[in-house]
């Protein structure tokens, strides 16, 4: 036996190697897709309720379709406008708050069934439901009447509520749900609130969160449960039965999973019939149509979600979608293959049959693959290559709705004077940062709102070391004398460090202020910023829709993302005024005035506006740079003949 083993060993090895090679070859070569692009990091999910991020957006925009869809405008292809999609039209009420959408009769799911208004109700409800844990519930929650309260599971005595009993078919599954009881909340019995730690460290905050959460679980909801009618509705006029529910019941209290605002009664999302979808907003929102084109508001197929549960419904073999493309397969951290959806109402206009979204994290690899003909579109390339690439005509370098900024903690003693903050802004040579450090064509920021049509930015704070010096002196620190060393915080990344070094150097040279650079790992950095324990901290913001509001309403007093301690009553009032202003021009003027206040007070220093870095083969037609960096795949046109010719001429493929 041993002898045989010894003799056979080399042969076994060779055989193993051959078998391995045969095995690897057996994966076979995939038929290349009609269009292939690099999509950055691997997407987290194809579930619209749970997705966040741009790579996810590119896939979801192809797989699904909202009521409206952002498409290039007919008169200016570089401007995206909301166009009817799953809805064929809408009617806006006179007060600008009620939208009545008509669902397109030809809108179909990929299994051939029609897309209905009820599907949208189901999907928006799913996104809003606190059990879903959607990070992007706010585009509905912040605007739709009752939706925010539902999302945050807030209920008050007197509210119509829905109580979900603890009898779900599968406990960990949100849908299908347990029995839902409807009724009126009489009161909430709360046990004594625990004492919370007062510290500001992460541990203390966690501790407080846990204690508070545990305490809230013990609340007992006293509900007058109304009987249901024969038709399955709720008889609100009948006298109900008083019952008590809690998530952690004691004694004769019943167990419930959620006690929420009654969705059908109190959240203004309704489907009077299959084709009519009505939404009522808290206030006038000129960009609401654009929000309906945002993936958290896309419809999901209720039958599919209920039958397979989360996350199984997202599997290629189960998933049902309503967009121009269907999910064919996913190979993790390799590609998402999509194929044309024959049931799509506009399928006749969709040219490309198959599309591959490659998960290529490294921008250098992405560039290599593009140059090698493996990609038709590279969504990101290394910044260091941009000066070279701008010489090519297949490279587009357009401004985006993204700002890079420094937050200032206005409660910090040396930063409490607006003159100091303005001086810090004026002493930064932003042009140098864009040209020497970031190098990808970024635009030095002279205000907060990225360049948008129709909006007049409140420009100011140009690089002016002399004026900066004068301002600092008038604040009591001539030549930076007695100014305590500033602590500049950023999350660990080379790009942030390089920029911080230029800023620190500028402040030292022009103002005589010493700066300590401090880098922290992402999670720790976020914690310090949200606790406002920093002095100066790097930050960024990506606008969600094309309106100044997305860059300005974050700085209101106590805003979740304000994180500077800055508070200005006049500013807050202007942001609120803008909501009720019906005249678009006046509304923009209000935003301009608000931004002027921000520029004078300078709780944040705008550094630069980010630019997109798209490399796209010229044979791919109908691709246009735009502010949102959204490029619908279903309108792309490629002449296969031309593609073949071009690639052959370059000697690739």
């Amino acid at each position: 036996m041993k002898h045989v083993g010894q003799k056979a060993a080399p042969y076994i090895l060779v055989a193993l190697a051959l078998a391995a090679m045969a095995w690897a070859v057996s994966f076979g070569t995939l038929e290349p897709a009609d269009f292939t692009f690099s999509n950055g990091v691997e997407i987290q999910t194809v579930d619209p309720s749970l997705a966040t991020g741009q790579p996810e957006g590119r896939i979801l925009n192809a797989l699904y379709e909202g009521l409206y869809r952002m498409l290039p405008s007919d008169d200016d292809r570089t401007r995206l406008v909301p166009m009817p999609a799953a809805a064929e039209s809408h009617i806006l009420s006179k007060d600008g708050k009620t939208y009545t959408f008509k669902i397109r009769p030809t809108a179909k799911w990929s299994d051939g069934s029609p897309v209905t208004a009820q599907d949208f109700v189901f999907s928006w409800r799913r996104t809003l439901h606190p059990g879903t844990g959607s990070k992007y519930a706010y585009p509905i929650g912040d605007y739709v009447v009752g939706a925010g309260k539902y999302n945050l599971s807030k209920v008050d005595p007197g509210d119509k509520v829905e109580v979900e009993l603890d009898d779900r078919p599968k406990k960990e599954q949100l849908f299908p749900r347990g029995t839902i009881l409807s009724g009126i909340l009489k009161e909430i019995l709360k046990p004594k609130e625990p004492k919370y730690p007062t510290g500001k460290t992460k541990e203390d905050k966690e501790e407080k969160k846990t204690l508070e959460g545990d305490w809230k679980k013990k609340w007992t909801y006293v509900v007058e449960v109304k009987p249901s009618t024969d038709k399955g509705g709720v008889d609100w006029n009948a006298k109900g039965e008083t019952r008590r529910f809690s998530k952690e019941p004691e004694g004769d209290v019943e167990m419930c999973l959620h006690t929420l605002l009654h969705f059908d009664e109190s959240v203004a999302i309704d489907a009077p019939d299959d084709r009519t979808f009505v939404v009522k907003l808290n206030y006038r929102t000129p960009y609401f149509l654009e929000l309906t084109a945002f993936y958290p508001l896309y419809p999901m197929n209720p039958k599919c979600v209920l039958e397979h549960g989360t996350p199984n419904w997202t599997r290629p073999e189960n998933i049902v979608t309503n967009g121009p493309y269907k999910l064919k397969f996913r190979r993790i951290r390799d590609r998402v293959r999509m194929v044309k959806n024959q049931w799509y109402w506009g399928a006749d206009e969709v040219q490309l049959e198959t599309i591959d979204a490659m998960a290529v994290k490294s921008p250098s690899t992405s560039l290599n693959m593009y140059m090698n003909g493996q990609l038709d579109w590279a969504t990101n390339v290394p910044s260091s290559m941009v000066p070279e690439l701008t010489k090519r005509d297949d490279f587009s370098n357009a401004p985006m709705l993204t700002i890079y900024l420094y937050r200032l903690n206005v409660n910090h003693e040396s930063l409490s004077d607006p003159r100091v903050r303005r001086a810090l802004n004026m002493a930064i040579d932003k042009r140098k940062i864009c040209e020497k450090v970031t190098k990808a064509g970024q635009i030095p920021a002279r205000n907060f709102v990225p360049p948008m049509t129709d909006y007049l930015p409140a420009l100011g704070g140009e690089f002016d070391p002399e004026e900066a010096k004068r301002l600092l002196a008038s604040a009591g620190y001539p030549g930076g004398k007695d100014f305590p060393a500033l602590d500049l915080l950023y999350n660990t990344l080379d790009d942030h460090r390089d920029i911080a070094q230029v800023v620190a150097n500028d402040w030292k040279t022009h103002l005589g202020i010493d700066v300590n650079l401090r880098n922290l790992e992402w999670g720790v950095y976020l914690n310090e910023v949200s606790n406002i324990e920093y002095e100066v901290a790097r930050g960024g913001w990506i606008g969600d829709y094309l309106d100044p509001n997305t860059f300005l309403d974050m700085w209101i007093t106590g805003g979740t993302n304000n994180e500077t301690n800055w508070s200005n009553k006049k500013y807050d009032q202007l942001i609120i005024d803008a909501r009720s202003e019906s005249d678009p021009a006046k509304r923009m003027k209000i935003f301009h005035r608000a931004e002027r206040i921000l520029m004078d007070e300078m709780p944040v220093i705008p550094v630069y506006f980010q630019v997109s870095k798209n490399l796209i083969r010229p044979y791919a037609k109908n691709f246009h740079p735009n502010l949102q960096d959204i490029h619908p795949l279903h309108i792309l046109r490629i002449d296969p003949e031309e593609k073949r010719r071009v690639l052959r001429a370059e000697g690739i493929r």
């Binding site: 041993k2 083993g5 010894q6 060993a9 190697a17 391995a20 090679m21 095995w23 690897a24 070859v25 994966f27 076979g28 070569t29 995939l30 990091v41 691997e42 987290q44 999910t45 194809v46 579930d47 749970l50 966040t52 606190p130 879903t132 844990g133 959607s134 990070k135 519930a137 999302n151 599971s153 960990e172 992460k202 969160k209 846990t210 508070e212 959460g213 996350p311 599997r315 996913r330 190979r331 993790i332 951290r333 390799d334 490659m358 998960a359 290529v360 490294s362 690899t365 290599n368 693959m369 090698n372 493996q374 790992e521 999670g523 976020l526 914690n527 949200s530 960024g540 979740t560 993302n561």
Partner: protein, 305 residues
Amino acid sequence: MIAFLLKRLGWMIVTLWAVYTITFFLIHAVPGGPFDSERKLSADVQRNVEARYKLDLPVHEQYFYHLGRAAQFDFGPSIKLADFSVNEVIAQGFPISVSLGIFAMTFALVVGLTAGIISSLRRNTWLDVTFMGIATVGIAVPNFVLASLCVMLFVFHWQIFPAAGWGSLRQLVLPALCLGAPFAAYIARLSRTGLLEVLNQDYIRTAYAKGLMPRRVVMHHAMRGAIVPVVSYLGPATAGILTGSLVLERIFALPGMGSHFIEAASQRDYPLALGMTMVYTVLLFVMNTIVDLSYSWLDPRVKLN
């Protein structure tokens, strides 16, 4: 041999438990969590999300819960790849990493042994000097530098291979070559030294004296002794090839275990990171056991115990 394997299996279980425990507490001790983001979730919503992954429980309760599941080979759902379970991620990544590893190892052995044998037989000729010079450089150059060089030469200059990706044999050649190169270099040096030593021994002289052909002497009598250091190097080499592929998978955009492992750790995807660690542990343990077994195959003097 059965007793040896059983004993090894016992030790493997202990090792797996130890690795699991240490890894579990280490990754939970690292600052930050999977749901850190610039956009904050409301406290209640965050709690619901955490509850889905049992992150709301105290760490020791989480540990026992997950350990119980892991013992049944169920690592639960991945947090950051929300549509997949950890087992599915492993099932997709493992074959890719393994085929890459096998290619790299085959390349390393074929090239390394060939170069080593030629060098030792043609000792101190220009051939020997050239091979060993290349080998020294090969050991010193990190694989990502080699990868960049290969991409420049074979992708852009000669346009033989695709730049990156996975799916065909051609796409596997460059990464396997870059991954295997340093090991080929090391194997070349090892086999050269080993063979030189053996060739000077008495039994080789006896073999020649009996009139055997030089080829038979070298391949049959000398090689068996010379290859032992190479075989004992295969254990660490496997480890090296597995960990070395982390960087190369990024450069060549290969969807193997390495890229999943790095991402899991940096995104705080606890279940995925744990699952990956366990797979690597099993793999290394098994490879080391195979190497130990092969000693007794190659050298009858070695007894398993």
